[in-house]
C-alpha cells in the first residue's frame, strides 16, 4: 500500500552551528503507517535532524515535504498545526504546571472562551489510562519522577500528532513494562496510519518495533534500510563504521573472586531516611560493583541521594575502613572520596555555559578548595586525556557543554568524577542516552576501574546492563531493600522474579 507521496520527506538537509557542520546533505523519508528508527552514535545529528523537521532549528539547506507539499514550519506551534507531534530528548514539560495543564497546553478545551478545567481533567485521565498511568492529574508535574514525565510527554505528543509522531529517546527512563505499554500504543497508531520516527540506542527495541531504520554518522546519511533485511551486526557497523567487541561478565566463571577482595571497606548500617528510603544495610568491598534494581519510583535514586549525602540520613551509621564517618552533605561525601553521576543530567549534572574542560575539572576544583586553583595547563591536559579516553565528541574542550549532544554530556559528567579518582562512584543510570559504542566503552571502563580497586554502585533500569557488570544486585521495592542477588542468582530473570516476588507478598 504505497501512497503516491511519502508522508514526510526531507531532501538535502544541511545545518551548521557556528560554522561547524552538524548535518550535511541528509535525506530522510517517512511513509504513512511506518515506524522508522533513526539511529546513530552520540552526536551523529539525530536530534538536530528532528529539530529541523519540527521547526525548532532553521535549516541552512534542504527542503521538507509533507504529503508531497513543501512545508517549512517556523516553530513548534506551526509543526503541531501540521499534525507533527514531538517528544524531544530533554523531556520538555513544565514542572510548575499540573499534569493536565501540561497535557493540554496550547490546546485547552474551552467553553465560552474560558478554559474548561473539568473537561481537561477528564480527558487527561483517559489519555493517561491508555498508558496504565493512574495518577492525580491536578498534581504539579514536579511531584513526579522522570519516568512519569516521559510517559506524560509521550501521551501529549501522541495526542496532538495527527500525522507524524517523533520520539527522541522516549524509552531512556522507562522500564520493561512501560516500554511494552508504549509499544502497544505505537503499534496501534501505526495501524491508524500515523508515521512514527523513533530515536533510541536500544537495538532490541529497534528490532522489536521498527519497520525501517535510517542511520546517521557524523552528520551524514549512512543509509536507510528495511529492518527485516538488516542483520544486527550490519546495523552496528553501519552506525559505528567498525565492528564492536562485546563484553559480558561470566558470573559462573568467577563466583569466588569477589570474596577474595577482602573485607568490606564501606559500610552503611541501618541507614535510612523517613519518607525517603527505609533503613537498609549495605556493604561495599573495594573493587566491587553493586547494582541496584527496581521499578520506577522504588527509591533507587533516593538511595543514591542518601549515600552521597544529598539527603541527610536520619537513622544509621556510615563506616569507612572501620572509622565511623558522617556524610551529611555532598562535600562530606566527596571528602570521603565518593563520586556521583546523577540521573537528571540537565538539572543536576551539567553546568551548561561552562566549557567541557571546566565541567570536567569542576568536582576536582571543588575538592581542592578555591585557594588552590587548577592551572590552565593542568586543566587542558586532564580534559584532553578524558575527551580522548571517553571519546567525547566533538573533541573541543573549549565548547560550552550545553552544545554537546546528550550522550556526550553524559560522558563529560562521568569524566568529572573520574578525575577525582574516587574510591566509591555512584552511577545513576550511567548509560542513559549513550550509544552502543560508548555503552560498551563505559562498561569496559567500569571493569577497569574495579580492577584498580574502585567500588561502584550502579543504578540502572537495564537489567542486562546490571547483570553484565554487577557482582551483586540489590533489589528495591516500595522504598525498601527487599532482596540481594549474587553469583548464580544474578540473572535478568532472577531480578525480575525478585521484584515481582515482593510485589506478590505485598499484595497478599
Amino acid at each position: 500500500m504505497s501512497a503516491p507521496h511519502a508522508l514526510l520527506e526531507a531532501r538535502g538537509i544541511g545545518k551548521s552551528f557556528f560554522g561547524i557542520s552538524a548535518l550535511e546533505d541528509v535525506d530522510f523519508t517517512l511513509q504513512q503507517g511506518e515506524i522508522h528508527a533513526l539511529l546513530g552514535e552520540n552526536g551523529a545529528g539525530k536530534s538536530t535532524l528532528i529539530k529541523i523537521l519540527t521547526g525548532v532549528y532553521r535549516r541552512d539547506r534542504g527542503t521538507i515535504y509533507l504529503e508531497g507539499n513543501e512545508v517549512s514550519p517556523d516553530d513548534v506551534a506551526a509543526a503541531q498545526a501540521l499534525g507533527i507531534g514531538t517528544v524531544y530528548q530533554e523531556v520538555n514539560l513544565l514542572e510548575n504546571l499540573t499534569v493536565a495543564e501540561n497535557l493540554f497546553l496550547g490546546r485547552q478545551p474551552r467553553r465560552f472562551g474560558m478554559i474548561d478545567r473539568r473537561t481537561m481533567r477528564e480527558r487527561s485521565r483517559t489519555l493517561l489510562e491508555r498508558y496504565g498511568l493512574n495518577i492525580d492529574v491536578d498534581a504539579l508535574l514536579s511531584s513526579y519522577s522522570v519516568a512519569f514525565r516521559q510517559i506524560i510527554a509521550i501521551a501529549r505528543a501522541v495526542d496532538l500528532s495527527g500525522k507524524v509522531l517523533v520520539l527522541d529517546e522516549p524509552t531512556a527512563s522507562l522500564d520493561a513494562n512501560e516500554v511494552k505499554g508504549l509499544f502497544t500504543v505505537l503499534r496501534q497508531l501505526r495501524e491508524d496510519g500515523v508515521g512514527i520516527v523513533i530515536i533510541t540506542h536500544f537495538l532490541d527495541q529497534v528490532y522489536e518495533i521498527a519497520d525501517r531504520v535510517t542511520v546517521l554518522r557524523n552528520g551524514r546519511l549512512v543509509g536507510s534500510r528495511a529492518i527485516s533485511e538488516l542483520p544486527r551486526l550490519d546495523l552496528i557497523s553501519m552506525m559505528l563504521g567498525r565492528e564492536l567487541q562485546h563484553i559480558t561478565r561470566d558470573h559462573q566463571a568467577e563466583p569466588e573472586t569477589i570474596d577474595d577482595r577482602g573485607a568490606p571497606s564501606i559500610q552503611f548500617q541501618n541507614y535510612g531516611k523517613k519518607g525517603s528510603v527505609a533503613p537498609f544495610d549495605l556493604d561495599i568491598r573495594p573493587g566491587e560493583v553493586v547494582g541496584i534494581a527496581g521499578l520506577l519510583g522504588s527509591g533507587r535514586s533516593e538511595t543514591a541521594f542518601l549515600l552521597f549525602g544529598i539527603d541527610r540520613a536520619d537513622s544509621g551509621t556510615a563506616t569507612i575502613d572501620g572509622q565511623q564517618v558522617s556524610i551529611a552533605s555532598p562535600e562530606a561525601a566527596i571528602a570521603n572520596r565518593f563520586g556521583f553521576c546523577p540521573e537528571e543530567r540537565k538539572t543536576d549534572g551539567i553546568v551548561g555555559d561552562l566549557s567541557v574542560a571546566d565541567n570536567i575539572v569542576l568536582a576536582l576544583q571543588a575538592q581542592r578548595g578555591w585557594m588552590r586553583p587548577i592551572s590552565s595547563a593542568q586543566k587542558r591536559e586532564l580534559a584532553d586525556s578524558f575527551i580522548k579516553s571517553l571519546d567525547i565528541r566533538p573533541a573541543d574542550r573549549e565548547r560550552p557543554i550545553k552544545f554537546l549532544s546528550g550522550g556526550n554530556q553524559q560522558k563529560a559528567i562521568l569524566a568529572r568524577w573520574l578525575v577525582t579518582e574516587p574510591r566509591l562512584l555512584i552511577l545513576d543510570e550511567p548509560t542513559r542516552g549513550i550509544d552502543i559504542g560508548a555503552h560498551a566503552e563505559i562498561l569496559k571502563m567500569i571493569e577497569r576501574l574495579c580492577a584498580e580497586g574502585m567500588s561502584l554502585v550502579v543504578i540502572s533500569s537495564e537489567l542486562e546492563e546490571l547483570t553484565a557488570v554487577a557482582h551483586r544486585v540489590i533489589v528495591l521495592s516500595d522504598r525498601r531493600h527487599v532482596a540481594e542477588l549474587s553469583g548464580r542468582q544474578l540473572t535478568t530473570d532472577g531480578i525480575i522474579r525478585a521484584i515481582a516476588g515482593t510485589g506478590e507478598t505485598e499484595a497478599a
Binding site: 560554522g19 555532598p330 561552562l354
Partner: protein, 343 residues
C-alpha cells in the same frame, strides 16, 4: 598573545562604545578631551569622569560578582549611606583614620553578609532580599546621622574623596586598586570559576561538591565591602554624610554598567574589566550631559537614548549576527593558517 586578542575581542564592543561616546561629547563640548596639570594635579573632564566614576565603578565590581551568582544587589546604595554615616560619625568623634576605615569596611561587609544570609540560608529571592536592606538601610543611615548632613573637618579623611597622590586623584587609586585586587582574587584563585559554576547551575555545582553557600556569602560580602569603600569616597568628597542622598539609585547605574559590560543577568561568565568599562560608559554619559549644556529636562531622555542604542548594538541578537559574520570569515582564514589571526 592569543590570550590578549581573546581579551580584546571580549572587550571590543564596550571599548568601541566608550570611544564613540567620548568622541561625540568632544564634538559638542570642545576642550573635553584636554588634560592639563593644575596645582600639581591632573585636571580635565576626562579626569573628572575617572574620579566621578569611582562610586559606580566600585559598586560595579561587587555587583558583577553578585550578578555572576545569578543574584542582584539593590541594597548597595543604602549601604553607601550607612557606611558614609558611620565613617562621618567616627571621624567627628575623633577616632583615628585606620579605625574609621576598618570599622566602615566592617559595617559594609556585615551588610553584605546579611544579604548573603537571606539569599543563601533563608533562600529568599535576591531582589526581595536586598530590597529589605535597600528600604531599611537608608533609615539606619539616617538614624546614625539623625537626619542631618553630618559634616566633619578632617583633611586626611577628606583626602580619600578629593585628595591626590603623584598628581592622580585618590579615588582613582581606590577603585582601580580595589578592582585589581578583587579581579586577581577571582582569577588567580578558583573563586571566579566556582562562582560562575554556582551562578549557572547551583544545584549541579553543589552536587559536584562546590560550596555554593560560601560563594554566595563571599559575593554579597564583597559587594558590601565595595559599597563601603564607595561610601567613604562619597562622604569624604563632600566632607559630610548625607544619609538621604548618598548613593541614591546608584545601584541601578551599577546594574546597567554590568549589563553594558556584557555580563548576563542570568548569572555565569563574568568580566570585571568589561563591567568597569561599562561603568565608565555610564559616567561618561552623565558627565557628558553636564558639560553639553542641554537643559536638565533632557538629561534622562538623553541617557535613556544612549543606553538603548548601546544595549541594542550589544544585544545577543545583533552580536550573533556579528559573530556569525566573524565566524565565517575566521573559517576562511583558517585555511591560510593562523598567522593573520595573531596580527
Amino acid at each position: 598573545m592569543t590570550w590578549f586578542t581573546r581579551r580584546l575581542r571580549r572587550l571590543a564592543p564596550q571599548l568601541v562604545a566608550l570611544a564613540i561616546i567620548l568622541g561625540i561629547i568632544s564634538l559638542i563640548a570642545p576642550g573635553f578631551l584636554t588634560i592639563s596639570v593644575q596645582n600639581g594635579r591632573l585636571y580635565g573632564s576626562l579626569i573628572d569622569i575617572l574620579v566621578r566614576a569611582a562610586p559606580v565603578a566600585l559598586l560595579t565590581v561587587g555587583m558583577t560578582l553578585v550578578i555572576a551568582t545569578r543574584g542582584i544587589d539593590l541594597s548597595i546604595g543604602a549601604v553607601i549611606a550607612i557606611c558614609g554615616a558611620v565613617a562621618a560619625t567616627l571621624i567627628s568623634d575623633g577616632y583615628s583614620l585606620p579605625v574609621v576605615i576598618a570599622v566602615s569596611l566592617g559595617v559594609g561587609i556585615v551588610c553584605g553578609l546579611w544579604n548573603g544570609i537571606l539569599v543563601a540560608v533563608l533562600d529568599i529571592q535576591p531582589i526581595i532580599a536586598t530590597l529589605i536592606l535597600m528600604v531599611a538601610g537608608r533609615g539606619i543611615a539616617q538614624l546614625i546621622t539623625e537626619g542631618v548632613i553630618l559634616t566633619f573637618n578632617d583633611d586626611t579623611f577628606a583626602a580619600l574623596g578629593s585628595g591626590s597622590l603623584a598628581g592622580i586623584p585618590i579615588p582613582i587609586y581606590l577603585w582601580v586598586g580595589t578592582a585589581l585586587i578583587i579581579g586577581l582574587l577571582m582569577r588567580r584563585t578558583a573563586l571566579g570559576f566556582l562562582i560562575e559554576a554556582t551562578g549557572i547551575n547551583r544545584r549541579a555545582a553543589s552536587l559536584a561538591g562546590v560550596r555554593a553557600r560560601f560563594l554566595l556569602f563571599s559575593a554579597y560580602a564583597i559587594s558590601g565591602l565595595c559599597a563601603a569603600i564607595a561610601g567613604m569616597i562619597v562622604t569624604a568628597d563632600i566632607r559630610g554624610a548625607d544619609a538621604n542622598n548618598a548613593g541614591l539609585w546608584l545601584e541601578l547605574d551599577a546594574i546597567l554598567a554590568v549589563v553594558v559590560g556584557g555580563t548576563s543577568l542570568n548569572g555565569g561568565r563574568f568580566s570585571i574589566t568589561a563591567s568597569l568599562i561599562g561603568a565608565l560608559i555610564i559616567q561618561s554619559i552623565n558627565t557628558g550631559i553636564l558639560v553639553s549644556g542641554f537643559p536638565p529636562e533632557f538629561n534622562l531622555i538623553i541617557k535613556a537614548g544612549i543606553i538603548i542604542v548601546v544595549l541594542t548594538l550589544q544585544s545577543p541578537a545583533i552580536m550573533t549576527l556579528f559573530g556569525f559574520i566573524k565566524a565565517t570569515r575566521r573559517s576562511g582564514k583558517l585555511n591560510h593558517g593562523t598567522k593573520e589571526a595573531t596580527r
